[in-house]
Amino acid sequence: MADFNVNLRGVGSVSVIDVNGYLDAHTAPELENVFNKLLDGKNYRVVVNFNDLKYISSAGLGVFMAYVETMRENKGDIKFSNMKESVYNIFDLLGFPILYEFYKDENEAVQKFNELGLS
């Protein structure tokens, strides 16, 4: 259906995933592949940058739920940043902000990881 792109980059010890387009049941496996790659490489500190994400479905939300536990068990986390209001509302409705950290800016999220790393 709609286009979806995912890009992985490293910012220091933190892995940043850029998601772009429409994340739904059909495109979620692409994002899952990226998370699997991160697990393989033992990269547990993840920031997902939602700057270019236009839509997320329940299947898309499920991807983060599936991996966050493992990340946290390994002293990492999945943090979200640069979310549009419409996308944030979907997360908000479900109660994600209670369980996940949301940041306006990607750097803040990365910074948060680095602070943890220093302490």
Binding site: A25, S58, G62, M65, A66, L93, L94, G95, I98, L99
Partner: protein, 685 residues
């Protein structure tokens, strides 16, 4: 034309009758006139003989045409008959050599014997001649009929020119001229032997031997009757000089024809193997083409590919590997064990992976393999990629013990077979995909069925309030669920839930949610407590990435008090007077958090309904319905519809909403279920 055909058909059809009638005439004629010295009697005799020859020929010839595809049988039959003639001549020479004196022929026994002999000769000659004719026409692209017919005409001329001797012993020029021309024509016609090229090597060798023997046999037959004193010659000549002419011409034809065949076959022998291989290649490609369209089973096709590869490429072992998610899988082996082929493939592909865009040959100093309990060494191996749309899906590999390069032709064949395998593999994949698609559609049917069965078939009725429900399933089954529970005389439970994901897995969770609510709603009268319990129960059946959003409310029809709790679900809309309120008490979706956090977050709300208040429970399918520009239908449109139609009946409100939704997303397929439950408080309080 039709007249001509008509004649031809009757001569053919009545060939046997005619032949028999003329034969009997000839027989009687010879019984009556054993000696025919006068010109007239001779002429009648010759004409009768000619007619017998003609009719027997017309009878035998179409019968032989059925053997057109087996030239060797024709050759062999002609050879047997030539041998028969040889035998008759030899035996009668030794038997009757003693009484060939004048007068002996008057003996009725001798006369009968000679007539029978004559008929045997006629039949044999005609059969041999007809065989030659069939061989002549074999594999001829153009119509060479004129050449053969000309020759036949000259045979006839030669036949009848014998009679001229009766007139004048010295008048032999025409006879000799016709005889020589006939031989020249025989020689020319004997050159049409292109059918030899199409024989396989074995047959060519066989033909080489046979043609030597036959050429000699025909020469003997001709030579034996060359001497004027030969008994058989005397019998034949005295019976009909023309018959002798035909006999000698046929024998000469045999000598020349089989001589030509001998040399042609000899020259064809060196290329026979290459020709065989080409023919094999062509026929196997044809077989494969047939298989490719018929076989759904890739293994079967792979087996035929490896076995033909072995044959056509002159290899000892061949095998086919396909690539599936970067893993190589052995599909078929020919004359090599799976284990050995697997090992070799690994060695080959580890070293050559990068370069394999086209056929390559690889030479090994020694790759030992165990074949049929025998250690062998592969010296050269050729490997061809299975390419479709530029992707390599596997390899076809063929190997030899001999240190002989695979030549260009063999490499081309290998690539051709690899291409076939690639196409077949692609076909098999497409079929599997379409089966999978069909399976998914069946699955969706099941999911839709489950959903239909678990949704209520009517809305509750009470004089204190009205209820209306709208449910529009998405094609893929979105996982929406709504229901009503009569809890006690005064209380009714309302639920709208949305299971994440789609299809059959969502519909199973839906069914489970229904079951849990059916039983727990009667036991736990507090919506918050109930949702906390549901979260606990679903922990065991929801996988990590699934969740359920629920809004659950209990309405007391005595008091008009609505208690509800929301677990990650869309907010409740309350339309009271001219105001519309979006009520979103805190609560996390079920399945997101199984810790105490879920309970801590979840808050219960209570509203007291006033007259004509409308409450809307719904799924995100409404505000998130999309149009062609991928814009959301949104809350505002939804809320406005309720506000503007609040005085109408609930059914009217749902139909207006449905109408507007359909209009909004007319160019966009509905990808999620749409559920709406409206409650209107009508009791004055």
């Amino acid at each position: 034309m039709s007249y001509k055909n008509n004649i031809r058909n009757t001569t053919r059809a009545k060939g046997l009758e005619n032949a028999i009638i003329v034969s009997i005439l000839l027989f009687l004629f010879n019984l009556v006139f054993p000696e025919h010295d006068s010109l007239l009697l001779s002429l009648i005799n010759e004409v009768l003989v000619f007619l017998v020859l003609f009719f027997v020929f017309s009878y035998v010839q179409p019968f032989l045409s059925t053997k057109i595809d087996s030239p060797l049988t024709l050759v062999l039959n002609a050879g047997i008959l030539a041998a028969l003639i040889f035998a008759i001549i030899s035996i009668s020479n030794s038997l009757f050599g003693s009484f060939t004196e004048e007068g002996a022929r008057l003996n009725i026994f001798n006369s009968l014997f000679s007539i029978i002999l004559i008929f045997v000769f006629i039949a044999t000659l005609i059969y041999i001649f007809a065989s030659f004719r069939e061989l002549f026409f074999l594999r001829q692209k153009k119509d060479p009929r004129i050449y053969f017919n000309t020759m036949q005409v000259f045979f006839a001329f030669t036949f009848f020119s014998n009679l001229l001797f009766k007139i004048d012993k010295n008048f032999d020029y025409p006879y000799e001229a016709f005889y020589v021309v006939s031989i020249v024509l025989i020689s020319l016609n004997s050159l049409r032997v292109s059918w030899i090229a199409f024989l396989v090597k074995k047959q060519k060798l066989y033909l080489l031997i046979i043609s030597t023997i036959l050429s000699l046999l025909f020469a003997f037959n001709f030579g034996l009757l060359l001497s004027e004193t030969n008994t058989i010659r005397q019998i034949i000549v005295s019976f009909s000089p023309g018959l002798y002419t035909i006999f000698s011409l046929t024998m000469i034809y045999g000598v020349i024809y089989f001589g030509v065949i001998f040399f042609t076959t000899l020259f064809h022998l060196p290329t026979a193997e290459a020709f065989d291989r080409k023919a094999e290649e062509a026929s196997s490609l044809m077989d494969l083409t047939k298989l490719i369209t018929q076989v759904f089973d890739f293994k079967e096709l792979a087996d035929s590919i490896t076995s033909t590869t072995n044959k056509v490429c002159n290899s000892h072992s061949s095998w086919l590997v396909t690539k599936k998610e970067n893993e190589y899988q052995l599909n078929s082996v020919n004359n090599i064990s799976y284990v050995e082929a697997d090992n070799l493939t690994k060695i080959l592909l580890d070293t050559e992976e990068v370069e394999l865009q086209r056929v390559q040959t690889i030479y090994f100093d020694s790759v030992s393999v165990e074949l049929k309990n025998e250690m062998k060494e592969f010296k050269s191996i050729a490997i061809a990629p299975l390419k479709v749309h530029g992707n390599i899906n596997g390899f076809l590999i063929t190997a030899r013990y001999k240190d002989v390069n695979f030549d260009e032709d063999e490499k081309k064949s290998l690539q051709a077979f690899a291409d076939y395998a690639a196409v077949a593999l692609e076909n098999a994949k497409l079929i599997a995909e379409s089966i999978e698609k069909e399976r998914l559609e069946k699955e969706l049917d099941v999911a839709r069925d489950i959903q239909k069965k678990i949704l209520p078939d009517h809305v509750p009725y009470a004089k204190e309030f009205q209820v209306a429900a709208l449910f529009v399933p998405a094609f893929e089954v979105g996982g929406d669920y709504y229901d009503f529970f009569q809890l006690d005389d005064n209380k009714i439970g309302f639920i709208v839930a949305d299971v994440s994901g789609k299809g059959i897995s969502a519909s199973f969770i839906m069914a489970e949610v229904k079951g849990i609510f059916e039983s727990l709603s009667k036991l736990i009268s507090n919506p918050r407590e109930l949702l906390i319990k549901v979260n606990d129960i679903l922990k065991n059946s929801l996988d990590k990435k699934s969740f359920v959003t629920v809004i659950y409310g209990i309405l007391n029809k005595e008091t008009g008090i609505l208690n509800f709790a929301r677990a990650g679900h869309t907010p409740v809309l309350l339309c009271s007077g001219n105001e519309l309120e979006r009520i979103q008490p805190p609560g996390i979706g079920i399945g997101l958090d199984y810790s105490i956090g879920f309970a801590n977050t979840l808050k219960e709300m209570q509203i007291v309904l006033k007259n004509d208040d409308i409450v809307a429970f719904y799924s995100d399918g409404i505000p998130e319905a999309k149009n062609a520009q991928n814009e959301d239908f949104g809350y505002e449109r939804f809320e406005n519809i309720i506000l503007q139609n609040k005085d109408k009946s609930l059914d009217e409100i749902t139909s207006v909403l449905m109408h507007d939704l359909t209009l909004f997303s007319k160019d966009h397929s509905q990808h999620d279920d749409i559920t709406l439950v409206l409650i209107k408080w009508t009791k004055k309080n």
